[in-house]
């Protein structure tokens, strides 16, 4: 069952990468990148169970945090055009 799940995740990974390469808009690419991150977390978990080492789940959690940081940075960059944007220091005029 885990092997089947791993194969399905690999197929999904390939599809997400196709979207990231072709992606006409920026948001396709951002979403594809995020999806690849999530899929690799799932692949990690499934692989851990596949080889009887469920402690890989902890590593997967770390990947989750990192994925969040990367996606947040990308989206912030596109919303404000600057990574160091501070909402409080917005010019009044």
């Amino acid at each position: 069952m885990f092997a089947g799940a791993a194969a399905a995740i690999l197929v999904a990974l390939a599809l997400a990468i196709v979207r990231a390469i072709k992606g006409p808009t920026v948001f396709d690419r951002v979403l594809a990148g995020n999806t690849v991150g999530s899929l690799s977390i799932m692949l990690l978990a499934v692989f851990g169970f596949l080889t009887d080492r469920p402690e890989f789940l902890d590593v997967g959690l770390t990947y989750g945090f990192l994925n969040l940081i990367g996606t947040l940075a990308v989206l912030k960059f596109f919303r404000y055009g600057d990574l160091a944007y501070d909402a409080d220091s917005e010019p009044r005029s």
Partner: protein
Amino acid sequence: MALLTLLAVVTVAIIMQRSLFGVVVLFSIYSFLMASVMMVLDAVDVAMTEASVGAGVSTVIFLATLHLIKTTEMRQVNVKLAPMLLSVVTGGALIWGSMILPPFGRASNPIHQHVAPHYLENSIKETTVPNVVTSVLADYRGFDTLGETTVIFTAGIGVLLLLRGARRRGRNGEDRDAS
């Protein structure tokens, strides 16, 4: 294997990609795939480093660089035949040379027979460090590690000096009091 194929596809896509932002996203994807490959190869610590540095930090750094520099689209590079042929031949020669290497990961390979048994047996007696990896890094290869840390330290000093110079000049002169 499937992961490595996807990795190759992403690499080619990075080369072909014209939009710099797409390259950043593809780099992030590449890092996650690479981390998965490392994980499958049982190198959990390397996978962790790859994921945190490659996918987390360097995405942010690349984006910051994109913000600082102007992004202009270069025109399509026309493919030159001779360098491509040369690199293909070199790559083929390297692959051909790797055919006579001993099989990967076998315990009787020469690399595991030279000094590794000595380290494993004598590291506690000679260095009194309970962790063998630490004893190899910090004791048997102490000068190597010293050189590495010197390089990183020098690079850190250089970056700090560069940043300080940029801060002193400032963009509008209002950053002057920050130092």
